[in-house]
């Protein structure tokens, strides 16, 4: 028995080993390197010459928070606004659509299926598509608003700070709704039909059923959607890079785009690494929360 157990331990681990090694080499090691880089002074001058690279402690982090030309705090607040607004609308629209498409009607599965596609498209292409739709000249959104007499003259969606933020949020909502919808539909299908029938017999109104039965029963799915949505939205890069590149005047600069710019536009590799680490730290806290959540919900592990 003991020997068999020991053997099983070894085989299980051996099966997993290649993938673990791969992830350690291409994710784990770079993460450690990223931390080391963030406490050094590697930039365009010292990049090639290791002898000039030295340990500077938390200087990069402090400069990111205090430095005169640092916009980290702006980037963090932009990222929070972007994430909260995106998730708010994605969730409510996704939830509404989940309730709708969970009903069986003609075309239900077809409509539901097609709405999925926005989630699969390369984000780069989706971003360019929205950049075009929001364009001040030739953009369909200005045309729509003008024909509805909501505005008199074309708006410069991508050139005005507040409007640019709205534009990237709208694009991100379109991309993220299917994800919210699908996870919530999966949650809805786990509710047994009988519960609805008995609540109907008891004379519950539709709203009562929604708040007293549906929502409490799919709470795990709701929590998953919200925490995962937070993590995925908080680290968005491509969409914003393609649509606004963080502009105008940093109005849509996210932590991810800021970190990228520091490293690959300004070649301040150490500072870029420090910014990426701050992003990681925020995600790590939420990630732990998510993992605790699914661990509590079902003992699959």
């Amino acid at each position: 028995m003991n020997k068999k157990n020991h053997l099983s331990v070894k085989t299980g681990f051996l099966f997993a080993l290649p993938a673990v090694v791969y992830m350690l080499v291409f994710v784990g090691y770079p993460m450690i390197q990223n931390f080391i880089l963030s406490v050094k002074n590697v930039d365009v001058y010292t990049f090639a010459d290791a002898s000039k690279q030295e340990f500077v402690g938390l200087k990069n982090y402090l400069e990111l928070f205090d430095g005169e030309d640092s916009i980290l705090l702006t980037a963090i607040s932009n990222t929070l606004i972007f994430t909260v607004m995106s998730i708010f609308f994605q969730f409510f629209i996704g939830f509404g659509l989940a309730l709708l498409f969970n009903k069986k009607f003609k075309g239900s599965s077809f409509f539901r299926g097609v709405t999925m596609i926005s989630w699969l498209l390369p984000v780069t292409v989706a971003g360019l598509l929205f950049k075009f739709m929001f364009a001040s000249k030739g953009g369909i959104i200005n045309q729509l608003f003008m024909s509805l007499h909501l505005i008199d003259a074309p708006l410069e969606w991508l050139l005005e700070p507040k409007l640019a933020m709205i534009a990237i949020v709208v694009a991100n909502i379109w991309i993220g709704i299917p994800f919210n919808m699908m996870l919530l539909i999966t949650g809805l299908t786990t509710i047994p039909e009988e519960i609805y029938e008995s609540s109907k017999l008891d004379g519950a109104s539709k709203l009562q059923t929604l708040f007293l039965i549906t929502i409490p029963m799919i709470k795990p799915a709701i929590m998953s959607v919200l925490t995962l949505g937070f993590v995925y939205t908080f680290k968005v890069f491509d969409l914003v890079w393609v649509m606004t590149k963080g502009g105008p005047i940093n109005a849509t600069e996210l932590v991810s785009t800021y970190a990228y710019k520091l490293s690959f536009d300004q070649f301040q590799f150490s500072k870029g690494s420090a910014a990426a680490n701050i992003l990681f730290l925020i995600l790590f806290v939420v990630g732990i929360f998510y993992i605790k959540l699914i661990n509590d919900e079902e003992e699959v592990m």
């Binding site: 993938a19 993460m31 990223n34 709405t115 598509l129 929205f130 990630g287």
Partner: protein, 276 residues
Amino acid sequence: MKNEKGNWKYFIIGAIVFVIFIFPLYWMVVTALKTQVEIFQIPTPLWPKDLTFEAFADQMSSSSDTFQGFKNSLIIGCGATIISTILSIPAAYGLARFKFKGRKLLILFFLMTQMLPSTLILTSLYIMFSRMGLLNSYLAPILADATLGIPFSIIILRTYFLSIPKELDEAAKIDGCNSITSFTKIMLPIAKPGVVVAAVFSFVYAWGDLIYGITFITDPTKRPITSSIYNYVQQYQTLWNATMAFGIIAIMPVVLIFIFMQKYIVSGLTNGAVKA
């Protein structure tokens, strides 16, 4: 009777949702078929009056980067998919079928790597690949893109292996299979749908990547398609019909995958995220 009526109400709402949702894609196609003049007309027509395939023809011509980008993305996507799938299958099996110390920790490890921002490892990978002389080679984005596919693949494949009854393992053992042969002869064939989902997602992730592509590859002839369309727009700012035609070509593989494998994709998405 009442039921029928209700159905129609839902159908109409569903159809409206469908139209709003699909409009951006419709607009992409229509724009690609318009002339530049019509695009900037006020109001711009909702369907091209002067329908032209010129933009597509331009993108397909031998002098354009589109085709090269497509080919590069295929190579990078397939490379990443192969690495990711080959590594994920045994790992998922090991994590589903054997109880061992540290198993839970490993599952957590893969769950966490799925949530990491690319920027976190980007700079270090760039330095690492530059030392290894891999910048401007397909291998750099392939190796990086595989890290996106592996955690996801392991998580969905694991739920697949978990759903296969344990008795099958035991029966195989009685018939003289060891861990390896029962894995290759019994488990793999049953898990085939799961393997397909994992491979498809790894490919879609790699195909959609922008950040690794623009960072590791600056040679225009080796750029993946996302990076070439991004660079194209930088160059031809308002040439929207050409850009949209380019975009349609860039999303083609994903659209085809979606049309033919929709059922698998939905199951993969929900299994990967909720059940974990």
